[in-house]
Symmetry: C2
Subunit: 324 residues, 2 copies
């Protein structure tokens, strides 16, 4: 692979699809972003993705692009490039996304789950570089999870492994978007953090969030909670601490189960720093075997929003090793 050639990495989210060329060092260029919000059909989303990829490819010229790696939400079957289902994408059920994109773009394509793609990116050129056994947890719209064992994504028996966000942390807890009670996602995702702050305000507690939201708790976001916590607001700090504690409960259980070397924690919420990382370590010390904890590191993700895009491109290369 010459340095001139790139793989197009694609990150499909609920709001935007983002593309960029990724070189063999993980460096990105020709970043393109298109909105997919309001797309009413499976085809409309596919068309936006094709458009976004085409624009990025045009930035290079076709002969410099080796292929396309896509990271998409939902359950995917890597071998066939099929999206079994994708929450928040209308009509994406049993969609042969790889075949569709290959036919329209006339270029090889590989598909990966977005949380797995982000983990592949962090493992390649981010916070997980050089680590064989690691678990990535991203606190976003959901709580994304990915498990890398022996330098490879653990997909499980039929492709659905790695769902750290859907481990139970409270037996009869808040009902999660997945329908189950007490999942980690129901307490540590960005919307869950905002929800817990709103609940506290509705209970009449005083907080600078009350002023920030102009008396309308519905406008509170997790970023506002993180900001208020950083500025010392006790209500916001308590919410962040609770999310970090339950994240720590899951991390400690995973430490005993899988004995990994590293957890990489991503998502905007990690800007809160010790407000999240300290309760995680408190629970590790409280619950995990000392032997397993002794080699464990917990670090913030390094690639930010680009992790999924970079990892999706890397997944293409890993899935189609060059003949040399």
């Amino acid at each position: 692979m010459t340095q001139d050639r790139v793989v197009i990495g694609v990150d499909l989210g609920g709001t935007n699809v983002r593309c960029a060329g990724v070189d063999d060092k993980g460096r990105i260029s020709h970043h393109t972003k298109l909105s997919v919000a309001g797309s009413a059909s499976a085809e409309a989303v596919v068309a936006r993705i094709v458009d976004c990829i085409s624009r990025t490819m045009d930035g290079y010229g076709r002969n410099r692009v080796m292929g396309v790696g896509v990271g998409t939400p939902g359950l995917i079957i890597a071998e066939t490039g099929t999206v079994v289902y994708a929450p928040n994408v209308p009509g994406w059920t049993d969609l042969p996304l790889r075949d569709i994109l290959e036919e329209r773009l006339k270029i090889p394509v590989e598909i990966e789950n977005d949380a797995n793609a982000a983990a592949i990116g962090e493992h390649w050129v981010g916070a997980g570089r050089g680590v064989r056994h690691l678990i990535c947890i991203t606190l976003g719209t959901g709580v994304g999870g990915a498990i890398i064992l022996n330098d490879q994504i653990w997909r499980g028996a039929n492709g659905a492994g790695g769902e750290v966000g859907h481990t139970t942390v409270i037996e009869d807890g808040v009902i999660c978007g997945c329908g189950a009670p007490g999942c980690l996602e129901a307490y540590a995702s960005a919307p869950a953090i905002a929800r817990q702050a709103r609940e506290a305000l509705r209970a009449g507690v005083q907080s600078r969030l009350t002023t920030w939201c102009d008396g309308n708790p519905e406008t509170i976001t997790s970023a506002m909670v993180a900001q208020a916590a950083e500025e010392g607001d006790p209500v916001a700090q308590a919410v962040m601490h609770r999310a970090g504690t339950l994240l720590g409960v899951a991390v400690a259980s995973l430490t005993n189960l899988l004995n990994p070397e590293l957890f990489v924690i991503g998502g905007g919420v990690i800007n809160a720093g010790d407000l999240i990382f300290k309760p995680i370590w408190d629970e590790i010390h409280r619950r995990a075997y000392k032997w397993s904890a002794s080699i464990l590191r917990v670090v913030p993700a390094a690639l930010g929003d680009d992790a999924g895009l970079i990892g999706a491109a890397r997944n293409f290369t890993l899935s189609r090793p060059s003949p040399s």
Copy 2:
């Protein structure tokens, strides 16, 4: 390997050490059992193990014995054959058990954790035969766990992986023997089941267990609880249901995390049948992804008390593949 030759499998428990010859089909013979209860030192336990192995070897003649596989409680480093620590075995800290046994017995030895050994046995000739990805959970003095991925024991980064019994199921629950609150082991081990029955009786609830224990709840065992539950006693049934439910919470989380094909549940308590297995499935249906659950099976262990012994012998063979 001719059918004439055997590996001696050794299962060290808190009360006894048991040995037998295991042939290349997993059949056992020349079973020997010696008590290790009351052994006051590391050396006393080692001497009993050597004695037990020697007696079994005498049953075959040395030239028929290819080696010895030992399953022992505690944290072991398989590569070096070292016991890092073993709860309930006095003085076993950083014990080079493999080297000690090889020197005294003049025969090759391999060491494995007892829960891992049991899983290897079930995977080889028991309930997990032919399955690539499975998790074994044994409800005994503790809750033993072992994870088999791609037909291999998952040991983790420094050998402590697989501790299913020490996943948190109740955030601020009963303190477990490991010191952490709310571990599965604190609710689903045999002593935990007996404890929960005693607590119910002390609260004044009527049960046939009251008669069986002659008014002394301390004498209640998990076997008595299982028996009473089977006979329709509501208190005993509630206790078994609670243990099965929390086991199910852990099983459902593991299903989302690792997406295995099979759980093998072992230990005397599984004689309670549906009283344990039905709540496990209730929680799987309540909490696990349908896609992952759709391929999942949960079955009772098939090898009973011999799983560890058979698996320890098999581990020897797997660790030292014959040159043929």
